[in-house]
Each structure stands twice: as structure tokens, then as C-alpha cells.
Symmetry: D2
Subunit: 142 residues, 4 copies
């Protein structure tokens, strides 16, 4: 299997995120360890204050995290996430979550995730995520 | 307005969580500062590993947090959340998120949230959440 | 080696925390997974606001965490810690950090740590700590 | 008081960190919102595994955080910190903690802190810190 094909197989696997598909979130891998998720907020994605639900903001951040930490074809699962909420957002807003790998060790890896408003550029939330890397590949290494 | 009525008005407000209603999550306030959320996992609530999506686990934890920190009728919003993921769960599992207030100060309050499998009793995830308390009531104090 | 002796060997190992000894912190294991650290704040343990330094509060919390997660004789190291600061404390205050194991899995374990003022009983800080458990014992299992 | 003088007054205040001075940590402000702390690890700064104590790593990260969030002359205090530990370090190692402001709002501000080994360049730990900004200046605005 060529490098191009392995990349495609990893990408195809990541598109099987049922909840991302259900919400209509678009998940991209920019390069290994780096991903981006995009979602337009709908009315049902709000809390009782009328702003975007924390569960939605976390969900797109988590999708970016999962794509980034699994982008090497090795199974990785979330250990812990710390998220800070900075500004409210609302239905109609177009949110982006972007993940970058800051460290990748034998057993764990670490990601910095920014969630921002695509139109205004404002930072909405910021997350620091740590993954556990299993000794197992979902797409075999060549 | 009597104590009973104020409690009811707070409860009614918390039921307006659009995303909780959309997912079918049931939100209860047990007593001020203490709440419980219940959700049965459906197929669409999964990630590409086939287990419950981190966004769903976080969402019910966040609903419990929001109910607990707003249960005094004063507007509170999330500052930050740290969540540790301990065990996978799957479609058909009945998950419970239970929040308890550990501290309530003038400006911030702190919650301990356990997310567990109702049937097996196993802890699925654990969260520590801090809220900012605005100087504003959504249900006026008597 | 009897159960009593193994417990003692674990306790003796944990007393080798050079920084705890340097600061004068007293570390106890109450039972496996449960520990307590005690420290009286001195003038040099303050920040530029004149209150107890975050590094000191974290240090005693970390000592309680390390004692608790290593109390089974198996090598455990910190993966991540989330700490919330709730109230200032000052020189002369007697602080206690108490750790309790909430989960212990094959690879990771989780602790809840409360840091409080011994005299007033007030909660000063609260921490949620996750450890990685190596497949190695510093005191062999019988 | 001129701009230069106000900067100097802020810097002088930050140098009053008693615990930083006690440990021999050097605290710099690179520019408003951006700071650096430097410390060479000594034998007494270790845990019972023989590596640098978590309390020391956190302490230099916290000193960088405090310098960065107070660098505007407005009183800021720690709300919460999430730190991930990535690699052990040892006596003799020269550690650097560098803080950068990612967000500064009316009431809270957020920092990204990297703790690395100065000689090898390796990332030792990574922290995400949130501060509460009081409505009070320790060095008055002009």
C-alpha cells in the first residue's frame, strides 16, 4: 500500500464518526497530528441560556482531537481533556476547532485545540487534550 | 413567591436546555447544588471506534453541571472543565451524570461530577468543573 | 515478607521524597489509595501578593497524590493534574492535602484531592489527578 | 510616571515572589502577557523516584503564569491550572517555563505554558492556566 493510499485509509476511518455525521460536522486532517472540524450552530444545539451548548463546543473539539491523535493510523483514546470557555456563541455562528500535536511519546500524546468563530476570528474556547496510544494500528504500518 | 414556587421556576428554566431535550436526556435537580442527568446511548452517539462519543459523555456531564450551578437561581456560566475518561461505554448503555457542589464563593463555584453506567455501577468518566457566578438572578430572590 | 512488612517498606520508600523533607511536609498513608500531607506555611512560601504560593499548594497536593498512587507498591507517575484555587492562605496557616483513589485501572488511576485549612476547615484548593501505572513494582508483590 | 517607569514598577513588584527567590528561580517579563522563568534543578528538588518533583515543575510554571497575568499591572489570581507531565527531568537539568497570553477578557485571562529542558529543547510539561482579573491595579494606570 503506498503512502497516499495509507493516508486515504486513515482519513476514511476517521469519517466513520457517527456523531460528527449526525450533527453535520466536517472533519479534515490537514497533516499527521493536525486536524480541523467545522460546524454551523443550529437552534437545537443550545443550552437554557440560549447560547451554544458546552456539549457541542466540546464535541467539535473532541472530534478534532480524535482525528489528530489517530492520524498516524495507531489507535489512540482520550485520557483527559481540560477546556476553558472564553466567549458565548449562538445559532448561525460558524465554529472551527483546530487541533495541533504538541508531543507524541510512546504511550501518550498531547494536543492544543483552539475553537474559534470563523467569521469574527474570536477565540470561543481552548482545550488541552491528552491521549493514550495503544500498541495497535487500525491501519497497518507498511 | 413561596419557596416551593421559586424551586419550581428554577427547575422549569433548566428544562429549557434545547440540546438535552434533543438528545432525550432527562435533567433533575435533587437539591440546590446537586443534580442528575440520565441518557440511554443510541447508535448515532458513537465515535469511529464504535464506543460512546466523548462529546456525548461531556454533554451529559455539562448538563448536570449547568443544572447544579444554576440551581440557586443565579446565572452561572462554565469557566473550565477537566474531564478524565476511564472506561468505554456503548449503544444501549444507560449513563448517569451526577453533580455535587464542593464550593460556592462570591464569584466562582466548583463541582465534582461522576459519570457512571447505571446498570453496572462502573465509573465511566469523572469531571471537575468551575463556574463563574454573575451578579444577576434569572429567578429573583424573594 | 508479611503484609505488615510490605506496608512498612512502601511507607519507607514514600518518605524518601526529598522536596517534602526539605519543606518540612509530613506525608502519611492512611490506607492503600488514601493519603494525607500536612504543612505549616512559612514566610518564604509566598508569592508577590503575600499569600501562599501556588507552587506550595500544588506541591503538598502532589505529595498526597504520589503517596496515594504509589501506595500499592507499583510504580505510578503523574500524567496530568487539574487544580482549582478557591481561597488564599497565609504564613502560619496549617494546610492539609488529602487524596482519595476514585478509580484504579490496569494502566491509569484517578485521585480526588482536597487541600484545606486545618484550623478553619475551609477548602483552599481542589485537584483531580490522573496517574500512569507502570508494569513494575518498587516493592515486590508477595 | 512614564511608560518605561510603569513597566519597571511592574517588573519590580513581580520580583517580590518570595518562593521564586528562595528556590533561585529567575523571572523575566519578555513583553506584556509573555514571561519566562529559569531554574537549575538541585538534589533537594526531587521526589521519591529521584526525578524533579512535580511541585517544582508546577512552581516554575506558576511563576511564569503569575508574571504573565500580572504583567499589565492589574491584580490577577489563579483560578485553575491543568498541567500534563510528559518527560522526567533530573538534578543538574536547566528548566525553562515560558508563558504566553492566549486570551484576555474583562474578568478572566488564559495562558499557554511550556516547560522545557533548556539544553535538549525537550518539552517536559505543558500547562493551560486561567486567571481571574480583579478590578484593581497594583501599579496604577496612567
Amino acid at each position: 500500500m503506498g503512502e497516499k493510499t495509507r493516508e486515504q485509509a486513515i482519513f476514511d476511518h476517521i469519517q466513520k464518526d457517527a456523531f460528527a455525521n449526525y450533527l453535520g460536522a466536517k472533519v479534515e486532517i490537514i497533516k499527521p497530528g493536525h486536524s480541523r472540524v467545522s460546524l454551523i450552530i443550529k437552534d437545537y444545539m443550545t443550552n437554557f441560556h440560549g447560547s451554544t451548548h458546552g456539549g457541542i463546543i466540546f464535541a467539535i473539539s473532541d472530534m478534532a482531537f480524535a482525528a489528530a491523535c489517530n492520524s498516524h493510523g495507531k489507535i489512540a483514546v482520550a485520557l483527559n481533556v481540560s477546556i476553558c470557555f472564553l466567549k458565548p456563541s449562538y445559532p448561525g455562528d460558524h465554529l472551527i476547532a483546530e487541533a495541533e500535536e504538541e508531543h507524541s511519546g510512546r504511550r501518550t500524546s498531547l494536543y492544543n485545540i483552539k475553537i474559534y468563530n470563523k467569521d469574527s476570528g474570536e477565540l470561543i474556547a481552548k482545550s488541552q487534550d491528552q491521549a493514550y496510544r495503544k500498541n495497535e494500528y487500525f491501519i497497518p504500518k507498511e
